[in-house]
Protein backbone atom coordinates (compact mmCIF):
# COMPACT_ATOMS: atom_id res chain seq x y z
CA UNK A 1 0.00 0.00 0.00
CA UNK A 2 2.96 2.30 0.61
CA UNK A 3 4.33 1.57 -2.86
CA UNK A 4 4.65 4.46 -5.25
CA UNK A 5 1.89 5.36 -7.68
CA UNK A 6 2.63 6.82 -11.12
CA UNK A 7 0.13 8.06 -13.69
CA UNK A 8 0.99 8.44 -17.37
CA UNK A 9 -1.51 10.87 -18.92
CA UNK A 10 -2.06 13.95 -21.04
CA UNK A 11 -3.38 17.24 -19.66
CA UNK A 12 -6.36 17.58 -22.03
CA UNK A 13 -7.52 13.96 -22.00
CA UNK A 14 -10.85 13.33 -20.24
CA UNK A 15 -9.71 9.75 -19.64
CA UNK A 16 -6.57 10.94 -17.89
CA UNK A 17 -8.65 13.36 -15.78
CA UNK A 18 -10.91 10.55 -14.60
CA UNK A 19 -7.95 8.89 -12.90
CA UNK A 20 -6.67 12.18 -11.45
CA UNK A 21 -10.09 12.91 -9.96
CA UNK A 22 -10.32 9.44 -8.41
CA UNK A 23 -6.82 9.60 -6.91
CA UNK A 24 -7.39 13.09 -5.50
CA UNK A 25 -10.86 12.27 -4.14
CA UNK A 26 -9.25 9.40 -2.20
CA UNK A 27 -6.22 11.46 -1.15
CA UNK A 28 -3.71 9.15 -2.85
CA UNK A 29 -0.32 10.74 -3.58
CA UNK A 30 1.03 10.01 -7.06
CA UNK A 31 3.66 11.07 -9.54
CA UNK A 32 2.24 12.43 -12.79
CA UNK A 33 4.03 11.90 -16.11
CA UNK A 34 2.78 14.05 -19.01
CA UNK A 35 3.09 12.04 -22.22
CA UNK A 36 3.72 13.48 -25.68
CA UNK A 37 1.48 11.28 -27.84
CA UNK A 38 3.54 12.04 -30.93
CA UNK A 39 6.60 10.68 -29.10
CA UNK A 40 5.39 8.12 -26.58
CA UNK A 41 7.78 7.19 -23.78
CA UNK A 42 9.33 3.74 -23.79
CA UNK A 43 7.75 3.17 -20.37
CA UNK A 44 4.26 3.83 -21.76
CA UNK A 45 4.82 1.39 -24.63
CA UNK A 46 6.21 -1.19 -22.21
CA UNK A 47 3.29 -0.77 -19.78
CA UNK A 48 0.56 -0.74 -22.45
CA UNK A 49 1.81 -2.81 -25.38
CA UNK A 50 -1.72 -3.72 -26.53
CA UNK A 51 -3.26 -0.26 -26.94
CA UNK A 52 -0.21 2.06 -26.49
CA UNK A 53 -2.54 4.64 -24.94
CA UNK A 54 -2.89 6.79 -21.85
CA UNK A 55 -3.91 6.74 -19.09
CA UNK A 56 -1.76 4.04 -17.50
CA UNK A 57 -1.51 3.70 -13.72
CA UNK A 58 1.64 2.04 -12.39
CA UNK A 59 1.48 0.87 -8.79
CA UNK A 60 4.30 -1.11 -7.20
CA UNK A 61 5.68 -1.69 -10.68
CA UNK A 62 2.42 -3.22 -12.03
CA UNK A 63 0.59 -1.40 -14.82
CA UNK A 64 -3.19 -1.02 -15.13
CA UNK A 65 -4.70 0.30 -18.37
CA UNK A 66 -8.12 1.60 -19.52
CA UNK A 67 -9.43 4.47 -17.39
CA UNK A 68 -12.55 2.82 -15.95
CA UNK A 69 -10.66 -0.42 -15.19
CA UNK A 70 -8.06 1.74 -13.43
CA UNK A 71 -10.86 3.32 -11.38
CA UNK A 72 -12.18 -0.10 -10.26
CA UNK A 73 -8.60 -1.01 -9.28
CA UNK A 74 -8.13 2.24 -7.33
CA UNK A 75 -11.48 1.63 -5.59
CA UNK A 76 -10.42 -1.88 -4.52
CA UNK A 77 -6.90 -0.90 -3.39
CA UNK A 78 -7.93 2.25 -1.51
CA UNK A 79 -11.47 1.82 -0.14
CA UNK A 80 -11.64 5.23 1.62
CA UNK A 81 -14.13 7.71 0.12
CA UNK A 82 -15.84 4.95 -1.89
CA UNK A 83 -16.72 5.70 -5.50
CA UNK A 84 -18.86 2.60 -6.02
CA UNK A 85 -21.97 1.73 -3.98
CA UNK A 86 -21.78 -1.34 -1.68
CA UNK A 87 -24.90 -3.24 -2.78
CA UNK A 88 -24.40 -5.53 -5.82
CA UNK A 89 -27.60 -4.21 -7.47
CA UNK A 90 -26.47 -0.60 -7.24
CA UNK A 91 -22.96 -1.56 -8.34
CA UNK A 92 -24.48 -3.25 -11.40
CA UNK A 93 -26.41 -0.03 -12.14
CA UNK A 94 -23.23 2.03 -11.84
CA UNK A 95 -21.33 -0.34 -14.14
CA UNK A 96 -24.19 -0.15 -16.65
CA UNK A 97 -23.79 3.62 -16.92
CA UNK A 98 -20.00 3.34 -17.10
CA UNK A 99 -20.34 0.95 -20.05
CA UNK A 100 -22.91 3.30 -21.62
CA UNK A 101 -20.48 6.21 -21.29
CA UNK A 102 -17.66 4.14 -22.81
CA UNK A 103 -19.51 2.49 -25.68
CA UNK A 104 -22.30 4.89 -26.57
CA UNK A 105 -22.20 8.44 -25.21
CA UNK A 106 -18.45 8.99 -25.50
CA UNK A 107 -17.89 7.63 -29.03
CA UNK A 108 -20.94 9.49 -30.41
CA UNK A 109 -19.74 12.79 -28.95
CA UNK A 110 -16.20 12.39 -30.25
CA UNK A 111 -17.49 11.42 -33.69
CA UNK A 112 -19.25 14.81 -33.85
CA UNK A 113 -15.85 16.36 -33.17
CA UNK A 114 -13.89 14.25 -35.66
CA UNK A 115 -16.21 14.44 -38.68
CA UNK A 116 -18.15 16.76 -40.93
CA UNK A 117 -21.06 16.63 -43.35
CA UNK A 118 -23.40 13.63 -43.34
CA UNK A 119 -21.25 11.61 -40.97
CA UNK A 120 -21.34 14.45 -38.45
CA UNK A 121 -25.10 14.87 -38.80
CA UNK A 122 -25.59 11.22 -37.93
CA UNK A 123 -23.21 11.56 -34.97
CA UNK A 124 -25.18 14.59 -33.74
CA UNK A 125 -28.40 12.53 -33.84
CA UNK A 126 -26.69 9.65 -32.01
CA UNK A 127 -25.29 11.97 -29.33
CA UNK A 128 -28.69 13.53 -28.70
CA UNK A 129 -30.22 10.06 -28.37
CA UNK A 130 -27.57 9.10 -25.80
CA UNK A 131 -28.04 12.32 -23.83
CA UNK A 132 -31.81 11.75 -23.81
CA UNK A 133 -31.31 8.26 -22.39
CA UNK A 134 -29.08 9.61 -19.61
CA UNK A 135 -31.52 12.46 -18.90
CA UNK A 136 -34.49 10.10 -18.72
CA UNK A 137 -32.98 7.20 -16.79
CA UNK A 138 -29.75 8.23 -15.08
CA UNK A 139 -30.44 11.24 -12.92
CA UNK A 140 -33.99 10.76 -11.67
CA UNK A 141 -34.34 12.48 -8.24
CA UNK A 142 -30.56 12.65 -7.77
CA UNK A 143 -28.13 15.54 -7.45
CA UNK A 144 -25.29 13.40 -8.76
CA UNK A 145 -25.25 10.02 -10.50
CA UNK A 146 -23.72 8.78 -7.25
CA UNK A 147 -26.59 10.20 -5.15
CA UNK A 148 -25.67 12.92 -2.64
CA UNK A 149 -21.97 12.68 -3.41
CA UNK A 150 -20.15 12.20 -6.69
CA UNK A 151 -19.18 8.65 -7.56
CA UNK A 152 -17.70 6.58 -10.31
CA UNK A 153 -20.53 7.31 -12.79
CA UNK A 154 -20.16 11.08 -12.33
CA UNK A 155 -16.47 10.64 -13.09
CA UNK A 156 -17.28 8.50 -16.16
CA UNK A 157 -19.62 11.21 -17.49
CA UNK A 158 -17.15 14.01 -16.69
CA UNK A 159 -16.63 14.42 -20.44
CA UNK A 160 -20.11 15.92 -20.67
CA UNK A 161 -19.26 18.58 -18.08
CA UNK A 162 -16.35 20.20 -19.93
CA UNK A 163 -15.33 18.48 -23.17
CA UNK A 164 -18.82 18.49 -24.69
CA UNK A 165 -18.98 22.28 -24.38
CA UNK A 166 -15.62 22.62 -26.14
CA UNK A 167 -16.80 20.36 -28.96
CA UNK A 168 -20.05 22.33 -29.29
CA UNK A 169 -18.15 25.61 -29.65
CA UNK A 170 -15.67 24.25 -32.16
CA UNK A 171 -18.22 22.56 -34.47
CA UNK A 172 -20.88 25.24 -33.91
CA UNK A 173 -23.68 22.88 -32.88
CA UNK A 174 -25.46 23.20 -29.54
CA UNK A 175 -26.22 19.69 -28.29
CA UNK A 176 -27.01 20.07 -24.63
CA UNK A 177 -29.67 22.79 -24.45
CA UNK A 178 -30.68 23.61 -20.87
CA UNK A 179 -34.44 23.54 -21.48
CA UNK A 180 -34.24 20.15 -23.21
CA UNK A 181 -31.89 18.58 -20.65
CA UNK A 182 -32.68 20.25 -17.31
CA UNK A 183 -31.31 17.40 -15.15
CA UNK A 184 -28.03 17.12 -17.06
CA UNK A 185 -27.68 20.89 -17.12
CA UNK A 186 -28.06 21.05 -13.32
CA UNK A 187 -25.69 18.10 -12.90
CA UNK A 188 -22.95 19.83 -14.94
CA UNK A 189 -23.17 22.87 -12.68
CA UNK A 190 -23.10 20.77 -9.49
CA UNK A 191 -20.30 18.52 -10.75
CA UNK A 192 -18.03 21.43 -11.68
CA UNK A 193 -18.57 23.02 -8.27
CA UNK A 194 -17.12 20.01 -6.40
CA UNK A 195 -13.75 21.41 -5.22
CA UNK A 196 -11.57 18.51 -6.43
CA UNK A 197 -13.23 18.65 -9.87
CA UNK A 198 -13.08 22.45 -10.05
CA UNK A 199 -9.38 22.46 -9.25
CA UNK A 200 -8.59 19.69 -11.74
CA UNK A 201 -10.39 20.63 -14.94
CA UNK A 202 -8.14 21.48 -17.88
CA UNK A 203 -8.26 25.14 -18.88
CA UNK A 204 -11.12 25.64 -21.34
CA UNK A 205 -9.37 28.27 -23.50
CA UNK A 206 -6.26 26.14 -23.83
CA UNK A 207 -8.45 23.16 -24.76
CA UNK A 208 -10.21 25.21 -27.43
CA UNK A 209 -6.87 26.00 -29.09
CA UNK A 210 -5.64 22.41 -28.92
CA UNK A 211 -8.83 20.70 -30.06
CA UNK A 212 -9.45 23.24 -32.85
CA UNK A 213 -5.96 22.50 -34.16
CA UNK A 214 -6.46 18.70 -33.97
CA UNK A 215 -9.82 18.91 -35.73
CA UNK A 216 -8.32 20.88 -38.60
CA UNK A 217 -5.56 18.31 -38.96
CA UNK A 218 -8.06 15.45 -38.85
CA UNK A 219 -10.37 16.96 -41.48
CA UNK A 220 -7.44 17.84 -43.76
CA UNK A 221 -5.98 14.35 -43.59
CA UNK A 222 -9.37 12.70 -44.20
CA UNK A 223 -9.90 14.93 -47.25
CA UNK A 224 -6.49 14.03 -48.60
CA UNK A 225 -6.85 10.26 -48.07
Amino acid sequence: MGEEVKLHGTWASPFSCRVIWALKLKGIPYEYIEEDLSNKSSQLLQHNPVHKKIPVLVHGGKATCESMIILEYVEEMWPQNPLLPTHPCERADARFWIKFAEEKQGPAMWTVYRTSGEEQEKAVKDTLEMLRAIEAHGLVDKKYFGGDKIGIVDIAFGQIAQWLGVIEDIVGVKLLEAHKFPRLHAWIKNFKEVPIIKENLPDRDEMMVLFKHFREMLLTSSRDS
Binding site: V50, T64, I69, Y73, A92, A133
Partner: protein, 223 residues
Protein backbone atom coordinates in the same frame (compact mmCIF):
# COMPACT_ATOMS: atom_id res chain seq x y z
CA UNK B 1 -36.12 -18.97 -2.49
CA UNK B 2 -34.95 -15.98 -4.48
CA UNK B 3 -36.55 -15.57 -7.86
CA UNK B 4 -34.10 -15.73 -10.73
CA UNK B 5 -35.02 -15.55 -14.41
CA UNK B 6 -32.78 -15.47 -17.46
CA UNK B 7 -34.06 -14.00 -20.72
CA UNK B 8 -32.03 -15.46 -23.57
CA UNK B 9 -32.08 -16.88 -27.06
CA UNK B 10 -31.02 -20.46 -27.87
CA UNK B 11 -27.94 -19.26 -29.76
CA UNK B 12 -26.71 -16.01 -28.16
CA UNK B 13 -23.05 -16.44 -27.13
CA UNK B 14 -23.51 -13.58 -24.66
CA UNK B 15 -26.41 -15.31 -22.93
CA UNK B 16 -24.33 -18.49 -22.82
CA UNK B 17 -21.81 -16.71 -20.61
CA UNK B 18 -24.54 -16.18 -18.02
CA UNK B 19 -25.77 -19.79 -18.33
CA UNK B 20 -22.24 -21.04 -17.68
CA UNK B 21 -21.70 -18.70 -14.73
CA UNK B 22 -24.96 -19.74 -13.05
CA UNK B 23 -24.28 -23.45 -13.72
CA UNK B 24 -20.67 -23.21 -12.46
CA UNK B 25 -21.98 -21.78 -9.19
CA UNK B 26 -24.85 -24.29 -8.98
CA UNK B 27 -27.53 -21.57 -8.98
CA UNK B 28 -31.12 -22.50 -9.89
CA UNK B 29 -32.98 -20.24 -12.34
CA UNK B 30 -35.83 -20.17 -14.86
CA UNK B 31 -35.18 -19.60 -18.56
CA UNK B 32 -37.33 -17.49 -20.87
CA UNK B 33 -36.46 -17.90 -24.54
CA UNK B 34 -36.96 -14.76 -26.60
CA UNK B 35 -37.74 -14.41 -30.30
CA UNK B 36 -35.69 -11.35 -31.27
CA UNK B 37 -37.93 -10.63 -34.26
CA UNK B 38 -40.82 -10.32 -31.80
CA UNK B 39 -39.44 -9.18 -28.44
CA UNK B 40 -41.63 -9.67 -25.41
CA UNK B 41 -42.97 -6.60 -23.64
CA UNK B 42 -41.22 -7.86 -20.49
CA UNK B 43 -37.83 -7.81 -22.23
CA UNK B 44 -38.43 -4.27 -23.51
CA UNK B 45 -39.50 -3.22 -20.02
CA UNK B 46 -36.44 -4.79 -18.39
CA UNK B 47 -33.93 -3.52 -20.97
CA UNK B 48 -35.39 -0.31 -22.41
CA UNK B 49 -32.11 1.20 -23.56
CA UNK B 50 -30.53 -1.74 -25.40
CA UNK B 51 -33.58 -4.03 -25.87
CA UNK B 52 -31.25 -7.07 -25.98
CA UNK B 53 -30.62 -10.44 -24.37
CA UNK B 54 -29.33 -11.61 -22.01
CA UNK B 55 -31.25 -10.06 -19.15
CA UNK B 56 -31.04 -11.62 -15.70
CA UNK B 57 -33.89 -10.70 -13.38
CA UNK B 58 -33.16 -11.25 -9.68
CA UNK B 59 -36.09 -10.65 -7.33
CA UNK B 60 -37.64 -8.34 -9.94
CA UNK B 61 -34.46 -6.34 -10.52
CA UNK B 62 -33.11 -6.54 -14.09
CA UNK B 63 -29.39 -6.88 -14.83
CA UNK B 64 -28.16 -6.34 -18.42
CA UNK B 65 -24.93 -6.67 -20.45
CA UNK B 66 -23.40 -10.13 -20.08
CA UNK B 67 -20.03 -9.24 -18.52
CA UNK B 68 -21.75 -6.93 -16.03
CA UNK B 69 -24.18 -9.73 -15.19
CA UNK B 70 -21.16 -11.97 -14.50
CA UNK B 71 -19.74 -9.38 -12.10
CA UNK B 72 -23.11 -9.18 -10.33
CA UNK B 73 -23.36 -12.98 -10.08
CA UNK B 74 -19.83 -13.16 -8.67
CA UNK B 75 -20.59 -10.51 -6.03
CA UNK B 76 -23.93 -12.03 -5.04
CA UNK B 77 -23.00 -15.74 -4.93
CA UNK B 78 -19.50 -16.21 -3.51
CA UNK B 79 -18.97 -19.94 -4.26
CA UNK B 80 -16.73 -20.87 -7.22
CA UNK B 81 -15.40 -17.33 -7.75
CA UNK B 82 -15.08 -16.19 -11.35
CA UNK B 83 -12.77 -13.24 -10.74
CA UNK B 84 -9.51 -13.50 -8.76
CA UNK B 85 -9.23 -11.86 -5.33
CA UNK B 86 -6.16 -9.75 -5.92
CA UNK B 87 -7.13 -6.26 -7.27
CA UNK B 88 -4.30 -6.24 -9.81
CA UNK B 89 -5.32 -9.65 -11.17
CA UNK B 90 -8.96 -8.51 -11.27
CA UNK B 91 -7.96 -5.48 -13.32
CA UNK B 92 -6.03 -7.76 -15.67
CA UNK B 93 -9.05 -10.06 -16.08
CA UNK B 94 -11.35 -7.10 -16.81
CA UNK B 95 -8.81 -5.74 -19.30
CA UNK B 96 -8.67 -8.96 -21.34
CA UNK B 97 -12.44 -9.50 -21.28
CA UNK B 98 -12.89 -5.93 -22.57
CA UNK B 99 -10.21 -6.47 -25.22
CA UNK B 100 -12.08 -9.58 -26.31
CA UNK B 101 -15.39 -7.81 -26.74
CA UNK B 102 -14.02 -4.50 -28.09
CA UNK B 103 -11.38 -5.80 -30.50
CA UNK B 104 -11.03 -9.57 -30.90
CA UNK B 105 -14.64 -10.43 -31.68
CA UNK B 106 -15.09 -7.89 -34.48
CA UNK B 107 -11.65 -8.54 -35.96
CA UNK B 108 -12.37 -12.29 -36.11
CA UNK B 109 -15.85 -11.77 -37.58
CA UNK B 110 -14.34 -9.51 -40.27
CA UNK B 111 -12.17 -12.39 -41.49
CA UNK B 112 -15.28 -14.37 -42.41
CA UNK B 113 -17.34 -11.64 -44.01
CA UNK B 114 -14.64 -9.98 -46.10
CA UNK B 115 -13.08 -11.21 -49.31
CA UNK B 116 -9.92 -10.88 -51.37
CA UNK B 117 -7.40 -8.29 -50.19
CA UNK B 118 -9.76 -7.06 -47.45
CA UNK B 119 -9.87 -10.57 -46.05
CA UNK B 120 -6.08 -10.87 -46.11
CA UNK B 121 -5.81 -7.64 -44.10
CA UNK B 122 -8.54 -8.83 -41.74
CA UNK B 123 -6.61 -12.04 -41.10
CA UNK B 124 -3.48 -10.06 -40.18
CA UNK B 125 -5.41 -7.89 -37.70
CA UNK B 126 -7.29 -10.83 -36.18
CA UNK B 127 -4.13 -12.89 -35.75
CA UNK B 128 -2.34 -9.95 -34.17
CA UNK B 129 -5.16 -9.67 -31.60
CA UNK B 130 -5.21 -13.44 -31.07
CA UNK B 131 -1.44 -13.31 -30.54
CA UNK B 132 -1.98 -11.14 -27.46
CA UNK B 133 -4.48 -13.68 -26.12
CA UNK B 134 -2.14 -16.59 -26.90
CA UNK B 135 0.61 -14.93 -24.84
CA UNK B 136 -1.82 -14.33 -21.97
CA UNK B 137 -2.40 -18.06 -21.67
CA UNK B 138 1.36 -18.72 -21.37
CA UNK B 139 1.20 -22.36 -20.24
CA UNK B 140 -1.98 -22.09 -18.16
CA UNK B 141 -4.83 -24.54 -18.67
CA UNK B 142 -7.38 -21.72 -18.50
CA UNK B 143 -7.00 -17.92 -18.46
CA UNK B 144 -7.99 -18.18 -14.79
CA UNK B 145 -5.35 -20.85 -14.02
CA UNK B 146 -6.46 -24.36 -13.11
CA UNK B 147 -10.18 -23.56 -13.17
CA UNK B 148 -12.51 -21.71 -15.53
CA UNK B 149 -13.05 -18.04 -14.70
CA UNK B 150 -14.26 -14.69 -15.96
CA UNK B 151 -11.92 -14.36 -18.95
CA UNK B 152 -12.55 -17.95 -20.06
CA UNK B 153 -16.31 -17.31 -20.09
CA UNK B 154 -15.74 -14.03 -21.94
CA UNK B 155 -13.84 -15.88 -24.69
CA UNK B 156 -16.20 -18.86 -24.71
CA UNK B 157 -17.46 -17.94 -28.19
CA UNK B 158 -14.00 -18.75 -29.57
CA UNK B 159 -14.43 -22.36 -28.50
CA UNK B 160 -17.44 -23.10 -30.72
CA UNK B 161 -18.43 -20.26 -33.05
CA UNK B 162 -14.96 -19.93 -34.50
CA UNK B 163 -14.81 -23.55 -35.72
CA UNK B 164 -18.29 -23.13 -37.20
CA UNK B 165 -17.25 -20.02 -39.16
CA UNK B 166 -14.02 -21.74 -40.22
CA UNK B 167 -16.00 -24.74 -41.45
CA UNK B 168 -18.52 -22.64 -43.40
CA UNK B 169 -15.92 -20.41 -45.04
CA UNK B 170 -13.05 -22.88 -45.47
CA UNK B 171 -10.60 -20.52 -43.73
CA UNK B 172 -8.46 -21.58 -40.76
CA UNK B 173 -7.72 -18.75 -38.39
CA UNK B 174 -6.43 -20.55 -35.30
CA UNK B 175 -4.10 -23.33 -36.42
CA UNK B 176 -2.25 -25.50 -33.94
CA UNK B 177 1.20 -24.41 -35.11
CA UNK B 178 0.67 -20.66 -34.83
CA UNK B 179 -1.55 -20.78 -31.74
CA UNK B 180 -0.67 -23.90 -29.72
CA UNK B 181 -1.90 -22.54 -26.37
CA UNK B 182 -5.15 -21.16 -27.75
CA UNK B 183 -5.81 -24.43 -29.62
CA UNK B 184 -5.35 -26.38 -26.41
CA UNK B 185 -7.48 -23.92 -24.43
CA UNK B 186 -10.30 -24.42 -26.95
CA UNK B 187 -10.13 -28.20 -26.38
CA UNK B 188 -10.02 -27.85 -22.59
CA UNK B 189 -12.80 -25.29 -22.41
CA UNK B 190 -15.15 -26.87 -24.95
CA UNK B 191 -14.78 -30.26 -23.29
CA UNK B 192 -15.29 -29.11 -19.66
CA UNK B 193 -18.51 -30.79 -18.44
CA UNK B 194 -20.40 -27.64 -17.29
CA UNK B 195 -19.52 -25.90 -20.55
CA UNK B 196 -20.15 -28.88 -22.81
CA UNK B 197 -23.67 -29.58 -21.56
CA UNK B 198 -24.81 -26.08 -22.55
CA UNK B 199 -23.54 -25.81 -26.12
CA UNK B 200 -26.41 -25.05 -28.53
CA UNK B 201 -26.97 -27.82 -31.15
CA UNK B 202 -24.13 -27.57 -33.67
CA UNK B 203 -26.19 -28.30 -36.81
CA UNK B 204 -28.69 -25.58 -35.91
CA UNK B 205 -25.80 -23.16 -35.29
CA UNK B 206 -24.25 -23.99 -38.67
CA UNK B 207 -27.52 -23.28 -40.48
CA UNK B 208 -28.04 -20.03 -38.62
CA UNK B 209 -24.47 -18.81 -39.13
CA UNK B 210 -24.49 -19.79 -42.81
CA UNK B 211 -27.45 -17.45 -43.29
CA UNK B 212 -25.86 -14.68 -41.19
CA UNK B 213 -22.56 -14.90 -43.05
CA UNK B 214 -24.36 -14.68 -46.40
CA UNK B 215 -26.13 -11.49 -45.37
CA UNK B 216 -23.01 -9.81 -44.03
CA UNK B 217 -20.74 -10.99 -46.85
CA UNK B 218 -23.07 -9.50 -49.46
CA UNK B 219 -23.09 -6.20 -47.51
CA UNK B 220 -19.29 -6.16 -47.59
CA UNK B 221 -18.95 -7.12 -51.27
CA UNK B 222 -17.74 -4.36 -53.60
CA UNK B 223 -20.71 -2.72 -55.32
Amino acid sequence: MAELKLFRTWSSPFALRVVWALNLKGIQYDTIFEDLSNKSSLLLQYNPIYKKVPVLVHNGKPLVESLLILEYIDETWKQTPLLPEDPSERATARFWAKFGDDKVMLSVWNVFIKQGKDQEEAIVTAQENLGFIERQLSGKKFFNGETIGFVDLAFGWLANLLSIWEEICGVTLIDHEKFPMLSEWIQNFAGAPIIKESWPPRDKLITKNQALLEVYTSKEAPK
